[in-house]
């Protein structure tokens, strides 16, 4: 499996800032990071690349569309069957 994240220290080296600054960026929401434990964070590589590319993602106005039917969630999934009661089993 290819590596999928950077540590705050690695990001700090790439940005030429301190690890503390990277943690501040994570805490203020500027840089997406996953808190694994109290002291361990992971920055997904695609998130860091997006951060480096800069600029906010373009906003959009979602269309409201009339549809005949919404595709059911969990389609193709085997739904739980009703458990047979003891009476059903005896019959």
């Amino acid at each position: 499996m290819n590596r999928r994240f950077y540590t705050p220290r690695e990001v700090a080296e790439m940005l030429g800032v301190s690890t503390t600054t990277v943690l501040k960026l994570i805490h203020d929401g500027s840089l997406p990071g996953i808190r694994v434990s109290e002291r361990i964070y992971r920055i997904p590589i695609p998130a860091f690349e997006r951060f480096q590319a800069g600029g906010a993602a373009p906003s959009f106005t979602p269309q409201v569309r009339r549809v005949e039917r919404l595709e059911p969630l969990g389609e193709g999934e085997e739904l739980p069957r009703r458990r047979e009661s003891p009476v059903d089993v005896i019959r």
Partner: protein, 158 residues
């Protein structure tokens, strides 16, 4: 969480922007799809790029049911399909009546250590607060060096 139609639109835009900030490449901009019963649904589909290989898909689906001129999230399906590792993880709330009747749970999860051949059908889970929480949980699983593991999950069919 109860939203009017404008609020639901803002929620969809916010969630789409949020997953893009994590580096997820969105295939096409999502829309709010409204059925004849006024249930509104949306799908955000995106791809986590990989240096090599097919990467992974993240799919966030929600259903919002009408309630006195507003809408409440009534169902969700948040999915991670990791093509590189051929595995899948998902958090679901749908067909609640069937799940309550059979297992006395409202939500369930899926885990496929090998894609297409789940060891078990449904696992117990905790409710996912909203789409942001769902996306965050899936991304945390995606970056885990151990990959998707089903160990420690409680199977409902056991």
């Amino acid at each position: 969480m109860s939203l009017d139609l404008a609020g639901l639109g803002r929620y969809l835009v916010g969630l789409t922007t949020y997953v893009e900030r994590w580096g997820v490449e969105i295939g096409h901009l999502p829309s709010l799809d409204r059925d004849p019963d006024d249930v509104i649904g949306f799908v955000i589909e995106g791809r986590l790029p990989a240096t090599t290989g097919p990467g992974a898909e993240i799919i966030l689906r929600e259903r919002w049911s009408p309630d006195a001129g507003r809408w409440e999230r009534s169902e969700y399906a948040y999915e991670l399909i990791d093509h590189e590792l051929a595995s899948r993880r998902a958090f679901h709330q749908h067909d609640s009546e069937a799940f309550i009747r059979r297992f006395r749970v409202v939500v369930h999860e899926h885990c496929e250590g090998v894609l297409g051949s789940p060891d078990r059908l449904h696992y117990a889970g905790l409710p996912v607060l909203d789409g942001y929480d769902g996306a965050r949980r899936l991304l945390a699983i995606w970056v885990d060096p151990g990959g998707i593991s089903c160990e420690g999950l409680t199977c409902l069919e056991a």
